[in-house]
């Protein structure tokens, strides 16, 4: 058996799936990132005239009836719809299909990460409760709202009989889901996991809540330039939505079934800020410890990392703090390693961000191209790294780190290896 650091089982990536503001499948999404396109525009889901912010990065051209029957359309919140569709893509790409009597199904599972769950449904059901009374609340409301249902739905659809679970850690949720799923495979609790996350919080409450926290950009007249991580004129994050999913497998099993080997999950680190409910700890020491933990988990040093996909939300506090954190964790290498925030194009997918950005990190390695941070116009002295400004560029590397931080002080770093690394014994 091939083993990684500490003699443990290796976890390879064999399928990818995305539903994003820049495309609802992997190739369209990747092309848009390399072109430096913004997925941000005026919000169309509801009337925003009473809100401070009128812009977001919405998923486009996603027609539920193309993916689900009529009853499913009614019973699945967009949060679950996005995740189910991303998982279908990933499992199909991996060539995974478990029939009803397949003995391997008991060793396959699913892990979803989400910040909220079915927020839009929750608002609607609470409105019904208040306006029409308890006996008019829908019997399918609770299963439509709970964040774990997205995983349950995937297990039902694909007959995954092993570990099925859910992580709710705000904007680091789907990075945690991928890391936790990989851990299950490493310790032998599963052979295959489809893992990732989703969010569909561009709802009246989501927008109002983040607005009141003064977290969102109000650059309403210039939506495509609103998400500008690390730029001196950044004024908050731009809400995004969508989902990402990867298929993770024990390497020997994946090789023996002839699965496409797209990459390897090499390292997973977590830490807590233990500081404030929403603000990151100034100086970035909490985030730095997550990056250092991921490097230790991978058995690597900073010089091994060829690209960092930053959390890079475009908030004042995150981008300065994350830059400081990278300097702590990477030392001299902080100025060498290219760092980009694809949130400049996708907006912030919240609970879905970590999975989508792990996928971006892997594609960057495999395709030899760095996706840019767009809207870099006004340098911020506190943000002085190489953020791959405004245009994609070629590079060569085998390992990338993806950072995700969440309200509550959650810090997560994943390290992925290229398809070349994964193929090497």
């Amino acid at each position: 058996m091939s083993t990684g650091p500490r003699g443990r089982r290796r976890v390879v990536i064999t399928g990818l799936g995305v539903v994003t503001p820049l495309g609802n499948e992997v190739e369209a999404f990747w092309s848009a990132l390399l072109a430096g396109r913004s997925g941000v525009g005026p919000i169309t889901h509801f009337d925003t005239s009473r809100f401070r912010t009128h812009i977001a990065a919405e998923v486009k051209d996603f027609r539920p009836e193309q993916h689900f029957d009529k009853r499913e359309v009614r019973r699945l919140d967009p949060y679950s719809q996005y995740f189910v569709v991303a998982c279908r893509q990933a499992l199909a790409a991996a060539g995974v299909k478990f029939g009803p009597d397949d003995p391997d199904a008991v060793n396959a599972g699913v892990m979803v990460g989400g910040g909220f769950g079915g927020m839009g449904t929750f608002i609607e059901e609470v409105s019904v409760l208040l306006e029409r009374g308890p006996e008019r609340v829908s019997p399918t409301g609770i299963p439509k709202i709970i964040a774990n249902m997205a995983a349950g739905l995937v297990s039902i659809e694909h007959n995954l009989l092993g570990p099925v679970s859910c992580v709710v850690t705000a904007c680091s949720a789907s990075a945690n889901a991928i890391g936790d799923a990989a851990e299950l495979i490493r310790r032998g609790a599963a052979e295959l996991m489809v893992a990732g996350g989703s969010e569909a919080a561009i709802t009246p409450y989501g927008l109002a809540g983040f607005n009141q926290a003064r977290a969102l950009s109000v650059r309403n007249d210039d939506p495509e330039r609103a998400s500008r991580p690390f730029d001196a004129e950044r004024d908050g994050f731009v809400m995004g939505e969508g989902a990402g999913a990867v298929v993770l497998e024990e390497r020997e099993g994946a090789l023996s079934r002839g699965a496409p080997i797209l990459g390897e999950l090499i390292g997973y680190g977590m830490s807590a800020d233990a500081y404030h409910i929403t603000l990151p700890r100034p100086g970035g020491t909490g985030a730095a410890r997550a990056m250092q933990a991921a490097l230790r988990d991978a058995g690597m040093g900073p010089s091994d990392i060829g690209y960092i996909n930053a959390h890079g939300t475009s908030t004042e506090a995150n981008d300065a703090g994350e830059t400081a954190a990278i300097k702590i964790a990477f030392g001299e290498d902080a100025y060498r390693v290219p760092v980009s925030s694809t949130k400049s194009m996708t907006g912030h997918l919240l609970g879905g961000a970590g999975a989508v950005e792990a996928i971006v990190s892997l594609l960057a390695l495999n395709r030899g191209m760095l996706p840019p941070t767009i809207n870099q116009e006004h340098p911020d002295p506190e943000c002085d790294l190489d953020y791959v400004p405004n245009a994609a560029r070629p590079f060569e590397a085998e390992y990338a780190m993806s950072n995700s931080f969440g309200f509550g002080g959650h810090n997560v770093a994943l390290i992925v290896g290229s398809e070349r690394v994964a193929a090497t014994a």
């Binding site: 009853r71 009614r74 019997p139």
Partner: protein
Amino acid sequence: MGEMDKTEIESRLRDVLVSELGLDADKINRTANFETDLDVDSLGVVELLMAMEDEFGVKIPDDEAEHIHTVGEAIDLVHGKLSA
């Protein structure tokens, strides 16, 4: 509103089943069993009762709801309540 006949109840019930429960219109007839023919699960039964109450302005207690297995029985129950 004058007394509603069963044909009108059926027509309106059919529309509700399609719009509110997402059922296939061509499978709906008076003998169709909600569970076995129309694939209405336990949650769907509650949706059905709520939809019937809203559409026809009647109240259907759980003990009466237990006797509804087919579309025809649902029509009869509504007709009985509206005629009472």
